[in-house]
Assembly symmetry: C2
């Protein structure tokens, strides 16, 4: 990527795991957090793990949005809408916002293996309603195990990333970003509305993890090689 990647909510395990992988791939990453000191701490921890040349900084979320036009949102569903309303003035026109949010019922004290119904169809479609006009929303990265992303080996990464967006250019950039994670294959999953299914898969995987004690992921089989960006 020629531009920095800002991971909003990047101090959480999903966000910092993605940031770690992109930092290792040589990308410039900004960790965003409500608390700039925590963002800097996480950035430093990632720099230590990703190597001396890693380009990772930490900023308050609004500053992170203002600093680039490639945003990845990794916050719990219960914080998503309020955060987006707060960040709206800071998000640059023409930005790409990649949303990894899943509306788990855990957000309201329920189970992480169940989801909430979102009026717009999915967490990502809710996001599309809340961002400034001209910002392209992409749904992706919901199904990748945070624990595995945060590990020091590539061995356990065994997951495809399904990318859904109504903007083909934003899809393309996200496919490339996903393929920078070792062993991940990225697949164009069509329109943003399809995020509703991909988000549900996370709840299924969480249920399987609880039942079988694993770190479940999914692979899509049976598509021609051209369907997989690696």
């Amino acid at each position: 990527m020629t531009r920095p990647i800002a991971v909003i909510g990047g101090t959480g395990s999903a966000g910092s795991g993605l940031a770690l992988r992109w930092a290792r791939a040589g990308e410039t990453v900004i960790i965003g957090s409500r608390d700039s000191a925590r963002a800097e701490q996480t950035a430093e921890a990632i720099r230590k793990r990703a190597g001396e040349n890693a380009r990772v900084s930490g900023m308050e979320n609004s500053a992170a949005c203002a600093a680039t036009d490639l945003l990845v949102l990794t916050v719990p569903f219960e914080g998503q809408a309020a955060l987006l309303k707060q960040l709206k003035p800071a998000i640059r026109p023409g930005s790409i916002l990649i949303d990894a949010t899943v509306p788990l019922a855990a957000s309201i004290g329920g189970r992480a293996s169940r989801t909430l119904g979102v009026w717009q169809g999915s967490a990502a479609q809710q996001t599309a309603e809340l961002v400034p006009k001209g910002v392209s929303v992409v749904a992706a990265f919901q199904n990748v195990s945070a624990e595995i992303l945060n590990s020091d080996t590539n061995e356990y990464i065994d997951c495809d990333v399904i990318v859904c967006s109504d903007d083909p250019n934003a899809t393309q950039i996200t496919l490339e970003l996903a393929a920078k994670i070792p062993r991940v294959r990225a697949i164009d999953g069509g329109k943003l509305e399809n995020a509703r299914i991909v988000e549900q898969i996370t709840a299924l995987l969480i249920g399987l993890n609880i039942r079988h004690k694993g770190h479940g992921g999914i692979r899509i089989t049976g598509l021609p090689d051209s369907a997989y960006k690696t």
Copy 2:
């Protein structure tokens, strides 16, 4: 299996594909159809393909239900509820009914890459409401490509079957039935309510098939070996 497997709606491509695979595995299979002559035709075609020793017969759906207590339902969603109401008197107490139905929007003239909301949560949960008391409903086999099941090679079978049921015994029998299909791994997916997610995955795969021109399936990765019945 010690008992015959009746595939209700077994003249369709999904049903006859499953029947073919089970016949090849040495199971006794009954093809059920509204029309007993069509059922017998399909049974004969499967016998020819599965080999001379294959045990496959054809019957009208009600007769098929009366002949065994292991039923697999493979009908389009638009026909599901009416058929179950009709078959209710014929379904034997204590039967296991495995439902492969997906509530595709194609049922009402919409897209096969979208689903309908089912009041009960999923097509399988609707089925659970419609069967006689004491019949155990299992959701499974929604995501396996009918075209691949119907092929003469095992080469392209690359799919896991997620089995959801509230009856552990029915889950176990279905896991074994799924594992009889070459290269399929069967996974206990927990309660029947989880079928709502597994059913959605079919719509996602259909969308991917249209977009990328393939025969998509899914594999669940990252679970311990004990989670996979093969």
